[in-house]
Amino acid sequence: MNTKTISLDSLSVGDSGFVSKLLSKGELRRRMLDLGLVKGTYVESLMKSPVGGLTAYFISGAVIAIRPEDARYILINKQQ
């Protein structure tokens, strides 16, 4: 399978991948870890807020919305 590493905020709706790295530090990193976002976690982009910004992702069985400013710091190996 072909993979490409991109940041989570550039994952288009309907696409999915596995977390490869967290670039954030401190509070933000802590919050991402609380969601179960560690290396190898499967993430799928589900939908965008109607006015843009917040995007909802499927993360270990739950639907979680994250702002693009925060999603930028999560690297994903996109599934092709």
Binding site: S24, S49, P50, V51, A62, V63, I64
Partner: protein, 705 residues
């Protein structure tokens, strides 16, 4: 042994109820205790520890519902509160409620709790929903993995609750041995933890039996992770500090040095810990569940596509609220009028009774004109709309729609430099601003929490909502033919609410740029699965709750206030009543704002509760002798018009009602939550000044036009 049982029989055992947000914790709480704490289908509904009791096998249990959290790493105040209770509340048993439809994520918290204290029972709730979605869970296997009893429940229908109580009884009375489970971390961390664990054990700091349940391994992990908050709590509860203990401190420093030499930084430690937990959760999940239908959330995604799409998301949101307002307004008319009529009959009857008893006119005025009239206004005008609005709102909440509102609206809050969770605290403000302020605890960043607290008052609460409806109905929709009247009223009410939201956003932006400077911090919003609301149950419960709430307010606030106001408008100084004197004094400012002195005085006297603003206006107007009876909105309209109201007065009254100082309860709550006089004062002054300025501007514009 016998004395032990004896002791147990007399003692009250404490059971903590923990779990992720939105897993039906409150439902389990209500089902066990028979209480009716309101449950909502969104994160952070339980913001303060609620407790109730139940008896099982002749032992009394106190059940403490702690705020729902995703982890025990304590990054927000409610997470901290949850951890405090699990660590230091000395629970005899912890019920960890897990959502069967989302087990993998929920297991993270369960594993962390077991790491602190293994005296726990796992309650896999929403089993019925999971079955519907084709998710099968092997509860026995799960129990083997976790080393504690596991009970499957469907708390809404009461399924599995007896088994849950049995398991809690067994664990709390130590009839059943619990083993817990151990999360294995990578070898570097594992070695360090074991070493530190032994040092803490040897320090004999925790020899006191009361806290022997606190796992040393957990403490060691927290120390290595540099968790200062936990040490502060330990200081509070035990009067000693782990970090200040020389041996322990030395050991921790040494571990950190060793980590550094192999290239492990502080963030890495946290990663290793979480990776360990997540890997274990994943392993357990893979072994204990079986998905018959891989796309079990298809229906939710379809609904989300409609409710949050670019094209339909916002229109549907406005439409839903508009429909609720429409039903509220058109439905409240009739019962309101009926109640008013009934009250005026009772009033006539009371007059007759007082005359029969030859009571002095003073007493008659005080009790009937003062107390009874205020009380009957509050009940007749406040109760019907609230008894219709809240059940409908609760249905929307139970369905899981509110987090979608936050999802739709987030961009606007991001632009104002605040948290998207502010939408949720605003929605709470509809019920009561004091609740909304307490609800701000779900916002993690202190800066954003204060902004949400200060601006919560721009959402009309229970006490102002019906006032707005009454004014709209009298002044803006009266001329419209009947079938469309409620429709226009609903549209206008929606406009007022949207205006409140816009003001909230603008003021938030202003605060973000000045007093509370900062960039929006990170936040995550969970969109829980949609659930079919239990329509009949919700309507009945919510209706009863609201009725009790409004009646209590009417009795506790409106009745005494009625007496005070009657006295004020009947105590004469130089031939003028106290009310008239003060309202004359306020007249210049009032008329500049498009109001009058009486309205302004009513808002000031309404500080204890917004419900009484309109009754005060009525009482002062009627005391000056123009009109005595008001038994419907049209006679009220005549009274107002006789006292010089125009539609500009009505508009300015609505604006000032939306934008003035919060009621006394809310102010106190703000002080309690922020612990700062400065923010409390700001919450008082800011909306008041904005309201005064806006009213003046409106008045000036219409004066010159």
């Amino acid at each position: 042994m016998k004395s032990d049982t004896e002791k147990l029989k007399n003692s009250n055992l404490t059971v903590a109820l923990a779990g992720n947000p939105n897993v039906g914790k409150s439902t389990v709480f209500n089902a066990l205790t028979g209480m009716r704490q309101h449950t909502g289908n969104w994160a952070g509904k339980t913001v303060a520890n609620a407790s109730g009791t139940f008896t099982h096998k002749s032992i009394d249990f106190t059940l403490v519902d702690i705020p729902g959290t995703y982890s025990l790493m304590a990054s927000s105040p409610d997470e901290e509160a949850a951890r405090e209770f699990i660590c230091f509340g000395q629970p005899d048993c912890i019920i960890v409620v897990l959502d069967a439809t989302c087990l993998e994520r929920n297991l993270n918290l369960a594993l962390q709790i077991l790491e602190v204290n293994k005296k726990a029972v796992i309650c896999v709730n929403l089993l019925d929903e999971a079955t519907k979605k084709g998710i099968q869970i092997d509860l026995d296997e799960l129990s083997l993995y976790l080393g504690v009893p596991v009970v499957g429940t469907a708390a809404r229908s009461g399924e599995g609750l007896e088994e849950l109580k049995d398991a809690v009884f067994d664990v709390a009375t130590e009839k059943r041995k619990v083993f817990g489970t151990k999360i294995k971390y990578n070898s570097n961390l594992e070695k360090a933890v074991t070493k530190l664990e032994n040092i803490i054990e040897d320090s004999k700091l925790f020899d006191d039996k009361t806290f022997s349940y606190l796992s040393k391994r957990f403490l060691a992990l927290r120390l290595i992770d540099c968790d200062k908050k936990l040490d502060n709590s330990i200081k509070e509860y035990f009067n000693f500090s782990l970090i200040e203990n020389q041996t322990i401190n030395k050991a921790v420093t040494k571990i950190h040095e060793e980590f550094e030499t192999i290239g492990l930084k502080q963030d890495d430690t946290r990663d290793i810990i979480v990776e360990g937990i997540v890997a274990k959760a994943r392993e357990i999940y893979a072994h204990c569940t079986c998905l018959c239908d891989k796309c079990y959330s298809r229906r939710d995604r379809k609904l989300d596509k409609i409710l949050t799409s670019k094209l339909t998301g916002i229109p549907i949101m406005l439409l839903l609220f508009g429909i609720i307002f429409y039903i509220t307004i058109s439905g409240a008319n009739y019962p309101s009028e009926l109640l008013s009529m009934a009250f005026s009959k009772v009033q006539e009857w009371l007059y007759g009774l007082f005359d029969l008893l030859h009571s002095p006119p003073f007493l008659k005025g005080l009790l009937i004109d003062g107390m009874f009239k205020t009380l009957s206004w509050v009940v007749a005008v406040m109760l019907p709309p609230m008894a219709i609005f809240f059940p409908l709102f609760t249905l929307l909440e139970d369905f899981g729609y509110l987090p979608r509102v936050a999802f739709n609206m987030d961009r606007f809050f991001a632009k104002s430099g605040t948290s998207g969770k502010q939408s949720l605290t605003m929605l709470m403000g509809f019920g009561c601003n004091a609740c909304g302020v307490t609800g701000c605890r779900i916002i993690e960043s202190p800066r954003e929490r204060i902004i949400a607290t200060v601006t919560n008052n721009f959402v009309p609460c229970n006490g102002r909502f019906p006032t707005l409806i009454a004014i709209i109905t009298m002044f803006f929709a009266a001329g419209i033919s009947l079938p469309f009247r409620s429709l226009v009223s609903a549209g206008l009410l929606l406009t007022v609410i949207v205006f409140g939201v816009v003001v909230t956003l603008l003021v938030s932006k202003l605060l973000s740029a000045t007093l509370l400077k900062g960039l929006p911090s990170s936040f995550t919003l969970e969109l829980p699965p949609y659930r079919r609301p239990q329509i009949c149950k919700t309507i009945v419960h919510s209706l009863l709750d609201r009725t009790v709430f409004v009646l209590l307010r009417a009795m506790c606030v409106a009745a005494p206030a009625g007496i005070v106001i009657w006295l004020m408008s009947n105590i004469m100084i130089n031939g003028e009543s106290l009310c008239v004197i003060i309202s004359n004094f306020l007249q210049p400012l009032g008329s500049l704002m498009g109001l009058d002195g009486v309205i302004l005085l009513a808002f000031i006297l309404g500080f204890p509760a917004n419900e009484i603003v309109v009754p005060i206006i009525i009482m002062i107007y009627t005391a000056s002798g123009t009109l005595v009876e008001y038994d419907s909105l049209s006679s009220l309209y005549n009274l107002f018009v006789e006292n010089g109201w125009t539609w500009v007065t009505a508009l300015c009254t609505m604006i000032f009602s939306l934008m003035h100082f919060p009621c006394s309860t809310t102010c106190l709550t703000i002080y309690k939550e922020t612990k700062s006089l400065k923010w409390t004062l700001l919450s008082f002054i800011l909306p008041t000044i904005l309201g005064i300025l806006l009213c003046m501007a409106i008045n000036a514009v219409f004066f010159w036009v």
